[in-house]
Amino acid sequence: MSGFAALLARDLRLVWRRPGDVMVVLAFFVVATVLFPLGIGPETNLLARIAAGILWCAALFAALLSLDRLFAADYEDGALDLLLLAPWPLELAALAKCLAHWIVTGLPLAVLAPFMGLLFGLSGEGLAALGLTLLVGTPALSLIGGLAAALTLGARRGGALLALLALPLCVPTLIFGAGAVEAVAMGEGFLTHLAILGALALLSLATLPWAIAAALRQAGE
C-alpha cells in the first residue's frame, strides 16, 4: 500500500469511528440554511434569488467548521512527526489529508445542497447547477482551508484565525459558485462558471499542497 493511500484510509477510518464529527457539520449546514426561509418568510421570488448565495455561504462555513481539527489532532498527539518522517513527499500527505476532508465534507454538502435548494424554490436546473458547482468548487475550499489550518497550528484561538485567513481566499470560489445558479435563473447556461470553478480547484491543487507542506514543516520544528 502506498503511503498516500494509507494516510487517506487512516483518516477515513478515523471519521468512520467518530461519525458524530461529520454529522455535526452537516447538521449545521441544514439548520443554518433552514433559518433563512423561516426568517425571511414565504416570499418565493426573493428566496429563489438569494438561495445560491446563502447555500454557498453556509457550505463554506460548514466546511470551515470541521477544518480546525484537520492537522491539529495530528499535531497534538504526535502523529504529525510520523508524517514529517515518512519516506515520501509531505506534499502528498497534505493532499491526502485534504482529500479525506473533501470526501467527508465537500462531497456530502454537494449532495445535500440541492435538497436544501428545494426549500428556496429553486428550479430543477438551478438545483443541478447548485449541486454541480459545489461538487467542483468544494475541493478548492478543502485545500484553502487546509492551508489556513496548517498555518494556525499551535496558535491560540486557532479556529477564529483560521476563518479569518481562509474566508478571503475563498471569495473567488464563492462568487463563481453562487453566480452559476443566478446565471441559470437568468436563463443562461452555467458551464462557464463551472469551468472557472474547475480552474480554481486545479490552481489550488497545483499550488497549495506545497504551501501546506511548508507550513507543516514549520510547525514541526
Binding site: 478515523l14 469511528r17 502523529a79 512527526d81 515518512a86
Partner: protein, 204 residues
Amino acid sequence: MTALEVAGLSCRRGGRPVFGDLSFSLAPGELLALTGRNGSGKTTLLRALALLVPADAGAIRWQGADVAADRETWRRRIAWLGHLDGLKSDLTVRENIATACHLREEGTERVDDALAAFDLGSLANRPVRTLSAGQRRRAALARVKAAGAPLWLLDEPLNALDAPSQAALRTVLGQHLAAGGLAIAATHAPLDGARVLDMGGASP
C-alpha cells in the same frame, strides 16, 4: 567501523543556542544515552538528527554520506519515538502500528513480533483511548520495533513504563543492537551498555 557520524553540530531555537559544536560517532551495535538537565537540548538534538529541526552548522553523515542530501532515504533508516506517543486514540493498537508501517511504505510482517515483544497481544484489538499512559508508551515502542529501521531515535523511552515493561524494552533494545542496529535515547534512567553523552546543564 562508524555508521553514524555527527560533526560540529550546532542548533539555535528562538535565537538562543541550545547546543553547539557537538561531535560524536556511533558504530553498529552501539547505544548512545543522552543525559543532562531539563532544557539541555536532548530533544532538540534528536529532532535535529531526524532533520525535523534545521541545524545551524555541522553535518550528520551515515556511512560517510551527508544525510541531508537524500532525506527520504534517511527517513527510511530512522525509527522515531517522540516525546508524544504519536498514536491515534480511535484506532486499535494493531491498527496504529500497521498504519505506521504502511506510512513508511513497508510491509506489516513484523507487527505481530513487535506486539509480542512488548506483551501487547491481549491489548492489540483495544482502541488506544482505553489504554493507560504506560500501555500507550509500550504501543509506541512496538511501533518503533515494527519499523525495521537501523537507527532508533528515542525520546524518554522509559517514561511511564513499569518494571516489567522496562525490562522488555531493555531486551528489545539488546536484540536490536545485537543485530547490528544503533540507538540514541534521551533518558534520565541508566540504560545498560550505553555510552553516555552528557549534554550538561540547562543553558541560562
